[in-house]
Symmetry: C2
Subunit: 342 residues, 2 copies
Amino acid sequence: MTDLTTIGEIGLIERIRQATPPPLHSETVQGIGDDAAVFDWGNDYGLLATDMLVEGIHFDLGYVPLKHLGFKAVAVNVSDIAAMNGLPVQLTVSIGLSSRFPVEAVDELYEGIRAACAAYNVDLVGGDTTASRSGLILSISVLGKVPKDLVTYRSTAQPNDVICVTGDLGAAYLGLQLLEREKQVFLADPNMQPNLSEERSYLIQRQLRPDARTDIVHELHDLGIRPTAMIDVSDGLASELLHICRQSGTGAVIFDENIPIDDQTHLAADEFSISPVTAALNGGEDYELLFTVRPQEFDKLANNARITAIGYLTADPKQIILATKAGQQTPIRAQGWENFMK
Amino acid sequence: MTDLTTIGEIGLIERIRQATPPPLHSETVQGIGDDAAVFDWGNDYGLLATDMLVEGIHFDLGYVPLKHLGFKAVAVNVSDIAAMNGLPVQLTVSIGLSSRFPVEAVDELYEGIRAACAAYNVDLVGGDTTASRSGLILSISVLGKVPKDLVTYRSTAQPNDVICVTGDLGAAYLGLQLLEREKQVFLADPNMQPNLSEERSYLIQRQLRPDARTDIVHELHDLGIRPTAMIDVSDGLASELLHICRQSGTGAVIFDENIPIDDQTHLAADEFSISPVTAALNGGEDYELLFTVRPQEFDKLANNARITAIGYLTADPKQIILATKAGQQTPIRAQGWENFMK
């Protein structure tokens, strides 16, 4: 018997992918192996993505309000559709509930789900409700669409492409550290007041209520830009960059000083004695978009404050490198590739 | 605070449905409230259904082989598509796994999933894998299609329609009773040999590895028959008949002697001192199709050994009646409507 930890989550997905036979239906364009499956529905490509969130693994109801959880559960699924350069259309929500949840808790959760559906222009069309022996389970599936000539995979990047990332990275991870610390303080002394001041609000918000970057998808469509590859940053920049490089057969160089990191992230990283670059590389849950564009296309994006160029792809798939200000080059590894967690 | 048990699962779904705003996208034809959501994709209607299975609630790995569980998890989802008179095309599988599961267990589960995908002509196109604190969680979503003029809802039945059911009912429930009894015997004395003889094999198979009735869907399409309403029998005949009647605004009379029940089901029901009709009405998990057709259409089906007429719909929505051989009439209630379980 082989322990799951020996092959890790990525190894498990790869094992499942390899054992899956080729599609029976010609309309199935892309199966396992990207942020969403892709179907040929005539005018557009259809997209289907799904994500499961389990209490005690993905969230702690000790500090996660149910309304925010509902919003986040939708946002992380919509983010998978955005990562294909697509926009969401419909979604289903399945929930497993243990008996400790009252009806009002379900109401709160769905309030957040409906708020996210309104924000991302998605129809809630179904789902399943069931009992659970151990807390809350959420499983969401989302259908989306993308014009055929704009669909963006992980596997189609090329050497010399510019590596771009939206927004900033690492904040969601430091938000989690702050929430975890306050929880420990509270558990030690329930009379303590939480120390989550205004200047931390961005980090907390990034952790509790992340936004899917459908705004960037609209912008790419408007500019007529099809990235050469795209993925959303759910497990950290390192893991996502490795996915693009492995699936495209390229190497990469990224520059640590170019990685966009918010001032609040810097401050909190200092306080927790964490390198902010490490938080960006391995923290995860930022739900920004990591994408690559041909160098000649990048001009159209160069002045966009929401997009930062952090490096470029190279021809040698063995060289995936973080270059530091001091001229040091270190190979990029990803935590998510070894552990079965998250 | 309101306990979930006070509104029940059906009450909870109704509460969610009522709070859901009308669709934003004109292609969303049907949202919450049927076996699958329905989308206008041009030539055909698209269908999306989803089901969550939780260890300790829906299955007991003490006697459910993982391979059968994988098959069943796919079959119950495909059954939802069949209930719309549609056929499945693609599906995603999300699994939550606690650390006690080795890689080989996941292999076995997927062996069953792949077998079902081959049996029902579906492409496995994605999913999610995650850790779980408490056993196995399976969440499957399935996409299907149906010609627009054949889509079948729950809400469009009419008085005088003939009520039909496929296959036979109650066997899955008695299979479960047998498996539960053998488990108790085994727990009391691990040296005991299981008493699951050949003449019980049908009941065990109906519980462990039910079949979705896509064969009936093909037959209905071939005969050019569009049922006036259809639903799959997952929670028991009573519950499903109430759904059709409530959503169509009709009453119903069914005849207990007409309910198709296998000989093995009769024998085992005797042994457990259960009425076989009660097993059919409230047992659930048969995954047969319950549908209604116009009386003049029924002739085309009358000689089909896989389909049984069990009664007819009436105009008074308050009269949903089981008529016994002895001339007694008793109102039909459904367990699933009161309890929050399953």
